[in-house]
Amino acid sequence: MRRQLIWLLLIISAPYLVVGCAGVDYVSVAHSGLKVAGKAVEASRPISDPEEYYVGRAVAARILSTYPLYQDTQLTLYVNEVGQTVARKSSRPNPYRGYHFAVLDTTEVNAFACPGGIIFVTRGLIKTCANEDELAAVLAHEVGHVANKDGINSISKARWTEVLTTMGTEAAKQFAGPAGSLVTLFEGSIDDVFKTIVVSGYSRSAEAAADQDAVNTLSRAGYDPGAMAALLTKMAAGDKGSGGIFKTHPPTSERLAKVKAQGAEGPPSKEMATRTKRFQSQKL
């Protein structure tokens, strides 16, 4: 029994004996090893929801330095009510700080989904909509981009790898300063996202996925899923490929064909008249 007790004590104290024999430096070596292991894990992680949120805020700030906010409180509230109705039926109803919708004061027909959940729709696009269900289709499409993380995924892989490397590099801390390096990379990331959502647009597959998500979301929320096809039909008629949403999106006829193939047309509900009435009461 005494021998067993001795062995037990030996096993428990072995690490201390090893460390004690070799000196205290081994402790820091062990800790460094753990830190390096932690950084290795860090180097492979995707962008977190809070990081996506901060990139999204900066992208929104840049969009708002180009387009002014439409100041109508009533319309902003209404757009938020419609937006929240579809957002809670999307595949990502709860991003880090929730969804927020706003109207841009421009006649350009366009909408932007910033990473993290800030969504802009222009006055021009709202005017293109005939009713609340079509506005819901626009917002559900943009929510789809947020849910699918299309915006944040447009940050180049090379840049994100550099962000992670900077975060894990002791040299950056000592010489350049982590904040300085990260801010430069933050700027670059905002450029990547801004160029994608405002200048070049998402890929055709991302647009098709967002259209499909929008139809499903409309259906789950109780809106007419056919509103997506109705809106695209209207946009296809005016599709001159000149600018705004026509510049950053695939040809509307192509999108319309895919949505129609989804079989997303249904009879209007009896409350549609109520919804159309409250849409038409908004000042544009």
Binding site: S48, T85, R97, F186, G222, T274
Partner: protein, 193 residues
């Protein structure tokens, strides 16, 4: 060396008389002599060092905008909101969803509502053996804590780019719809809550 007369007090030890007149003692391993005791010890160690079970534990909601759902699906009508900081009792874990009890209601919350689950043991053996975690400096925290783009980074960016309309963004983020107002809006439009 054991003497023959000592053997009486150690029944678990058997002595072999060798041809050279010397005695060799053969000790049976402890786990052979008392298997039940050792199984108990091993079981206790596994319980202490094994991963924490999910059932019956209380978790704090760490994300805002959370709602309790009747099934593990966002398409359902939420039972009610669960504010950030609320403590819920976990009934069941199923993939990306946790079935929980909150204020007498049972429903499902997405896994993202909670901090990342701990896969380690209940007791920090590493901490016990090697001491507590390393205390990092504040710059280390910024650089290494897995928070690459932080409010601090945004703050420096804002100083560099005063033309960016962050004040307007704050205004947009202030756009909120009261839950009662949302319910009235949904009901009036014949929509699904």
């Amino acid at each position: 060396m054991f003497r023959k007369e000592d053997m009486a007090s150690f029944p678990e030890v058997s002595a072999i008389q060798t041809g050279l007149g010397k005695e060799a003692v053969v000790r049976r391993p402890a786990f052979v002599r008392k298997p039940a005791l050792w199984l108990m010890v091993l079981g206790l160690a596994a319980w202490l060092l094994g991963p924490a079970p999910g059932w019956g534990e209380t978790l704090k909601v760490t994300q805002s905008n959370q709602s309790l759902y009747p099934s593990a699906d966002f398409a359902g009508t939420p039972i009610g909101p669960v504010p950030m900081g609320a403590e819920v009792s976990v009934v069941e874990k199923a993939g990306e969803w946790y079935k929980v009890e909150y204020q007498g209601k049972t429903g499902w919350l997405p896994r993202q509502a909670f901090p990342a689950p701990q896969t380690g043991s209940k007791f920090p053996l590493g901490g016990i053996l090697f001491g507590g975690p390393v205390k990092e400096t504040k710059s280390d925290e910024v650089a290494l804590a897995g928070k690459g783009f932080t409010p601090e980074v945004e703050s420096v960016y804002r100083q560099k780019h005063p033309e960016m309309q962050f004040a307007q963004v704050d205004r947009v983020e202030a756009n909120r719809v009261d839950e009662a107002q949302m319910q009235a809006f949904i009901k009036e439009g014949g929509l699904r809550p």
